[in-house]
């Protein structure tokens, strides 16, 4: 135990922060792997749901070509991943850490609050990305693959969706007394977000007032960005070129940014660091 003789290793703040997040994320990954229920929720549920739906319904609409079906399946996978893997599992993780008084311990250490909240999101995000990649490989092998008009927009949509849903998970954890009650507390947002996500049909099919309102719900812009990026299809169903997809992405990106602001405010309002029990 040195007093002032040891010079702390000088690292840039970003590197040190990344190292701290990595240490926590590693522990979170271990915990996810050891929790069978959470692991099933994270890995099997989205895949099973998308697989079952693709078999009984026509993703992308009746009579859609294979590339459209492939895009619809991938968009559905993203939405399911964000809801089950990120929203539900992450809310559960925050509540569990809080009730176990792990958050209180972490606050005494060198991690910032942002780092503490980010760490459990790392394995969740990795699972979603892995599922999308597996999905992409599957539709490429089984169907006519989507054209990948603008992959950047897919990445933007995924990251934006992860941020918004992650922030919602932070806020929802504060409203959840126990790990078990997360099943109930996550329900309202799922019920509100899912029908408007627009993942069952290709864009443009259900335009009208409902469709216009839906564009301003949190998950719809993620789906829109997926369609834009994967197939070049915009909200009204037109097929765009790469150059045209950028301006078309403005509205969904702005909507996601607005929801991210709402997410930050909600997280600040409801997040709790000390146990509720």
């Amino acid at each position: 135990m040195s007093t002032s003789t040891t010079t702390p290793a000088r690292r840039s703040p970003a590197v040190a922060g990344g190292r701290r997040i990595a240490a926590l994320a590693r522990a979170e990954t271990t915990l996810l792997v050891r929790n069978r229920t959470a692991l099933m929720n994270a890995i099997l549920l989205p895949l099973a749901f998308v697989g079952a739906f693709a078999m009984v319904a026509d993703p992308g609409g009746a009579g859609a070509d294979e590339a459209t079906t492939a895009t619809a399946v991938l968009a559905m996978l993203v939405v399911m991943g964000l809801l089950f893997v990120v929203y539900y599992n992450l809310t559960t993780a925050y509540v569990a850490r809080r009730e176990d008084r792990v958050l209180q311990r972490l606050l005494t250490g060198e991690c910032t609050r942002g780092e503490i909240l980010l760490a459990p999101a790392v394995p969740a995000a990795a699972v979603v990305v892995a599922q999308v990649l597996v999905g992409l490989a599957a539709v490429t092998a089984l169907l006519d693959p989507p054209g990948l008009v603008n992959p950047l927009l897919v990445v933007v949509g995924l990251l934006g969706g992860l941020a918004v849903i992650g922030l919602f998970a932070v806020a929802t954890s504060g409203l959840s007394r126990t790990v078990e009650s997360v099943q109930l507390t996550t329900l309202p947002l799922v019920v509100v977000m899912l029908p408007f996500a627009g993942m069952f049909t290709a864009p443009g099919a259900n335009d009208g007032v409902f469709g216009q309102i839906a564009r301003f719900t949190p998950l719809r812009p993620v789906v829109e960005l997926c369609w834009l990026g994967l197939a070049g299809t915009d909200a009204s169903g037109r097929t765009l070129t790469l150059a045209e997809t950028f301006p078309a992405a403005a509205v969904p990106v702005a909507v996601l940014a607005a929801w991210a602001v709402v997410g930050v405010l909600a997280a600040r309002r409801w997040m709790r660091w000390e146990p509720r029990r």
Binding site: M1, T3, S4, T6, A16, R101, R105
Partner: protein, 343 residues
């Protein structure tokens, strides 16, 4: 909040608290406390439940801002300059938790990964006697083992200052001794320690200085010897006559004693005689005991159950607690690390 390490030599006190205050709504838990801890020193905070010990150490840990006064750790504000201070401070909260499904080794490795200059985890687990339990999940640990893991994490970052909130509560005597040995070893290495405890023996064993808190204030501080010296010694006896029959005396029947205030001057400090038992508190034990014994011989009295003893820390502590009306403060008030801070 710049992450600038405080690696330049700092010569002042490691902890310096001036007139610190902390409020929870209308309740003021810390009411103007002064406290200083020098480098390499161990200061023990004593007090009844709800005296404000935890609320005070949370200010030192930088978990909450002071509502008044000044708190400095290594010369800096531990709350506002947290990033600079926190790598130098090891904290053991009263009840922080662990993820039940991680093993002891995984827990230590995770914590080490968040620290600027961690010691090897294996070395620390060894020091707290947990290396044989390294592969065991935390959920299977006993309460005492969890407390030792707590201590291991607190010392893992080579802290200059260690803040221990009731480190041995719930430990069996053997584990308590082991913890004391570990803390003494850290003191030998120059670590500064601020600890709170319910165990007066722990303070007598470890502390260079103690501070006794009551109702949010430090009511007495100094070395154990200083604090005990301020407390009078005690003489007790049950007087009987030469034939062996009990005698009922009043304080006025007693001789004039040099170290005992008369009942008229200090009714609560003077001699008492209840149900035949006479109790004296004296600041001059030897002289007054001699006077009492000579007085008894002159009158041919037999002093049954005669006791004469110097003050103990326990007696000093109880006397202060009584004077402060301590039972009123035993509200069991819990404090939360994040109280008053936004997410």
């Amino acid at each position: 909040m710049t992450p600038e390490p405080t690696d330049r030599p700092y010569a002042g006190p490691v902890v310096s608290v001036r007139e610190a205050r902390r409020r929870y709504g209308a309740f003021e838990a810390v009411r103007g406390v002064d406290l200083e801890v020098g480098r390499g020193e161990l200061v023990a905070l004593l007090g009844t439940n709800g005296a404000g010990k935890t609320s005070l150490v949370e200010l030192v840990e930088g978990l909450a801002p002071a509502d008044g006064g000044q708190v400095r750790v290594l010369g800096r504000d531990p709350y506002r300059e947290r990033r600079a201070v926190v790598p130098h401070v090891g904290v053991m909260l009263q009840n922080a938790g662990f993820s039940a499904d991680l093993t002891v080794a995984e827990t230590a490795r995770m914590w080490a990964g968040t620290l600027t200059r961690p010691r090897p985890a294996g070395e620390v687990l060894d020091a707290v006697g947990l290396s044989h339990r390294a592969q065991v999940r935390v959920v299977s640990l006993s309460g005492g083992e969890r407390r030792r893991l707590d201590l291991a994490l607190a010392v893992l970052g080579r802290p200059d200052l260690l803040v221990l909130d009731e480190p041995t509560t719930g430990l069996d005597p053997e584990s308590r001794q082991a913890t004391w040995r570990l803390v003494r070893g850290l003191l030998d290495d120059g670590v500064t320690v601020l600890l709170t405890t319910h165990y007066l023996a722990e303070a007598e064993e470890l502390a260079d200085r103690i501070a006794i808190m009551d109702a949010g204030r430090v009511v007495r501080s100094g070395t154990v010897a200083d604090v005990v010296a301020a407390e009078p010694a005690r003489i007790e006896f049950v007087p009987h006559d030469a034939g062996g029959a009990p005698l009922v005396l009043t304080p006025d029947d007693l001789p004039v004693l040099a170290g005992v205030p008369s009942t008229g001057h200090a009714p609560d400090r003077g001699p008492t005689a209840e149900r035949g038992r006479v109790r004296l508190r004296t600041e001059r034990l030897q002289e007054d005991l001699t006077t009492v014994l000579l007085w008894a011989r002159e009158r041919g009295l037999r002093l049954h159950e005669l006791e004469a003893r110097p003050a103990s820390l326990e007696q000093a502590f109880l006397a202060l607690a009584e004077a402060g009306g301590a039972p009123d403060h035993q509200t069991g008030r819990t404090t939360h690390v994040t109280e008053g801070t936004a997410a």
